[in-house]
Symmetry: C2
Subunit: 173 residues, 2 copies
Amino acid sequence: MCGVSSLIILGIDPGTAITGYGIVDYQGNHYKLIEYGVLRTSKDQDVAERLNDVYIGINKLIEVYKPDCMAIEELFFNKNVKTALQVGQARGVVMLVAYQKKVPIYEFTPLQVKQAVVGYGRAEKKQVQFMVKAILNLSDIPRPDDAADALAIAICQGNYCSSGLMLRSDKNC
Amino acid sequence: MCGVSSLIILGIDPGTAITGYGIVDYQGNHYKLIEYGVLRTSKDQDVAERLNDVYIGINKLIEVYKPDCMAIEELFFNKNVKTALQVGQARGVVMLVAYQKKVPIYEFTPLQVKQAVVGYGRAEKKQVQFMVKAILNLSDIPRPDDAADALAIAICQGNYCSSGLMLRSDKNC
């Protein structure tokens, strides 16, 4: 996957209520924004229906934008168990869609995302958002946060490709 | 759903490595075992592929046994965040399949399962397994534990139906 001259990367920040997505075209160390946004579900829906909305939404994004790969945060340990279970449910559905659509998945820790986007792993959220805006040459910081986070993950994926570093989940990289 | 004379219940204990399932026929306060077992995935597989195996496996179970409903544990808070995220991923996929197959989902806490099967909520795992064996008139305790747990959840669902209690996720019960 890495080493190619143009790469459409779909970054995802999964959640049952809001799943952020960001799609970038990575060409020769430059990034071009293609699209970003969020998939929202209603708290009035059953969880299973919300997960199905995520399933349908991610399927559509892949069909429309035909990404070469998906980037997603690996794990997070700074939230509580209930949150982890809920995020896990949405994350499982997102990974399932990618697998079914044959889109390779790359996982990054929050530390890796911050290092790639800002330059150091303990960066504040606002610094990450500022750098996302700068790297993608946007007039404003992307809103909501979930979409900005998804773009940061997508940028991280491109940076790791350009650095030639072996990715855990990409034995061919 | 409740109040009908015969009910095929699919109990699920979700996990990425092992998903336990137990299918019972609940007729007039009696339970008959239909099938139980586990879906196993290999740690050599990528997570997304394992989740897809769970997706395919649950789809097949629903197609073969045509359950009227699915029973699943609601949440658990006694495990760590990493475990919760991993279980959440498999749980999300299981709920997605049920939704797509139009199988109503009923969620129960571990406390409810123990109360329903043993009679009190602080029962030991072995007591639950012993009661599953007794209620289903089996010669041995079902193995592995994941399958026994899934059967316990299915029995819990039947008991709640027979008690006429309103279930959180079943407004028609």
